[in-house]
């Protein structure tokens, strides 16, 4: 089977890390590079984390630092979720590998061109890099196969009542990306909150080898945040975007118009999902909005991918 060429745009991030494991372990992707964007933490930290992860996985691919801050606001690291380093918990050695000395936007453009219309961008951080790409290279819009996003929510946010973190961190960028006309999949909180991993499952993952051990150690830290009411489920948000690409059939997905609120009111950062629209017509820009998925299959696939990595 032909491998799907992807670039992984991320802000690692615990869930970014396990999403990367899943992408690599699935052996279904041709991972052309990693671009980093500030979100879970500042750019230098998430970039270092990405380097550590590639080194741990023995991946010989470029890791590129992207835009240092959102289009129109400052960075707001999610320290309460991901800790001071952005990927707090397990100890990973300082990377020997260096960041690629290329402009991230040029790198993305080059990957799009080289893949000849086949490149999928897996965007699991704020959409700053992707928006800048679309602004600097509007002529390449038609050559991006898909942008598969972890971000947004049709019902309820996790930073404000209506805004999900990745979108909230750069609403202007998200607005530009969702309006671009590039095929988009939105894996928002609606689906990611349903695809949790239970504590016993984390233990099974821990037993799957060195990558499984690291994933479990990441979860050990990450679940503290999600551990309410004594139930220590973890929600590996970003991995859902990878899983959707692996098997869209196991998800409930609808084609809907999404508009990002980049205003200054209460709903800034909200992805408004228009379920029914009378005046938009059939030519309105639509995104594939993912609402639900098969949790058992998801966990099974996750474990399978991790086990592959040994």
């Amino acid at each position: 089977m032909q491998k799907m060429p992807i670039v992984f745009d991320c802000d690692p991030g615990h869930d970014d890390a396990v999403a990367l494991f899943m992408a690599v372990g699935s052996e279904r992707f041709d991972l052309r590079g990693i671009t980093c964007v500030p979100g879970n933490n500042l750019l230098d930290k998430v970039s270092q984390n990405a380097l550590k992860l590639t080194e741990f996985l023995g991946l010989d691919i470029p890791v590129v630092a992207g835009c240092p801050k959102p289009l129109a606001q400052e960075c707001h690291p999610a320290v309460s979720v991901h800790g001071a380093s952005g990927m707090e918990g397990p100890h990973l050695p300082l990377p020997k590998k260096q960041l690629a000395k290329v402009n991230a936007i040029d790198f993305l453009a080059q990957q799009i061109r080289e893949a000849g219309g086949e490149l999928t961008i897996v965007a699991v951080g704020p959409l700053t890099n992707i928006a800048t790409l679309l602004l600097a290279y509007p002529e390449l819009k038609g050559d991006i196969k898909r942008i598969c996003i972890m971000g947004g929510s049709a019902e309820g946010g996790n930073v404000t009542p209506v805004a999900e973190f990745n979108i909230w961190h750069d609403p202007e960028a998200a607005r530009i990306v969702f309006a671009s006309g590039v095929p988009i999949t939105m894996c928002g909180l609606d689906v990611t909150h349903r695809l949790y991993i239970t504590e016993p499952e984390v233990e099974e993952i821990r037993a799957l080898g060195r990558v499984g051990r690291l994933a479990a150690e990441l979860f050990d830290y990450y679940k503290m945040y999600h551990g309410e009411g004594g139930v220590h489920n973890v929600i590996p948000h970003d991995a859902v975007a990878v899983c959707w690409l692996l098997d869209p059939e196991m998800f409930y997905t609808r084609s809907l118009h999404v508009e990002v609120d980049a205003g200054s009111g209460l709903s800034r950062g909200c992805t408004q999902v228009f379920a029914i629209s009378r005046d938009m017509g059939d030519d309105s820009v639509k995104a594939e909005v993912v609402f639900d998925g098969d949790r058992d299959k998801f966990v099974q696939m996750f474990k399978h991918c991790i086990a592959n990595l040994g």
Partner: protein, 324 residues
Amino acid sequence: MLEKRPLIIDCDPGIDDFVAILLANSCGQFDIRAITTLGGNVLPQYTARNAKNTAAMIGLDCPIGRGAQKPLMHEIDTADYIHGVDGIGGVELPESDRPFDERPAWDIIYDEACKFPGQLEVAAIGPLTNIAILFRKYPEVVRLIKKLHIMGGSTTTGNHSPYGEFNIWEDVLAADIVFNSGVELRMVGLDCTRQGQCDKQVWHQGLQKPGLVISKLREMMAFDPTQTELYRQHRGIKPPKDVENYVPGLPDAVTMAGMIDEDLLQCQKYYVMVETTGPLTYGWTMVDWNMTTRKPFNCEVALKVDTDRITELYHQMFEFYEGK
């Protein structure tokens, strides 16, 4: 002889952009590295062509680049009711067959900023879309540019909406990015440029001088947008322009004049905010006159124009182009 100052003009010609280019070229101070264009006053295909033809006509042999086709987050909304659909009031400039530089505007500006670190000056006299893309694609460029002079905004009232000056109003997000970028910035707003008219006699004597360039300027000055259907749709009915006595306010040219003559504009540093959402004041450049926000100054705001000095610059410009 003093070394010439490397300059890039990022513009949307535009009749006043046309005059700004004429001034920059005639003053002899600048090494004009490129003219980059974008959609704004009129659609991008017209601004690019006007820049190219203008440069060719005045013998300016620099790269002409094209940039943003539309604002960062919105569709384009032009001021063609002021400049005519083609941007220069239907005046036909000799068609240049020189090709455009194939690099996008932001890459051209970046390349030149790297060639002249700390020296390159940029006059951004259209919407700030190209500059915003430049700053986001190449964050380090902010420190490489010596100074960014923008024609945009207003400390008082606007021209496209009650508070919105066109260049800022057209792309508020881009303007917000530029004002918060930390670049060395001068804002030449409408309230200032409105004061910057040339002495009437000097202007009209100059306009009568022979030569192709001045004849084209004369034709543009005779163009009366207020009598077009387009203008009536936007602004209603106005009496025709008194061409014999008309002295234009040329915002972009005032901005350029301020770069040529350091003492021409009286400036003061302030913290300036761009209103990106306000229902009534959308597109306003709000100056924190009394330092209520306690934010560090981000902008040198031009407040007054020395009209004698600008008259002198126009006088020199007319002499330069006489017979050309």
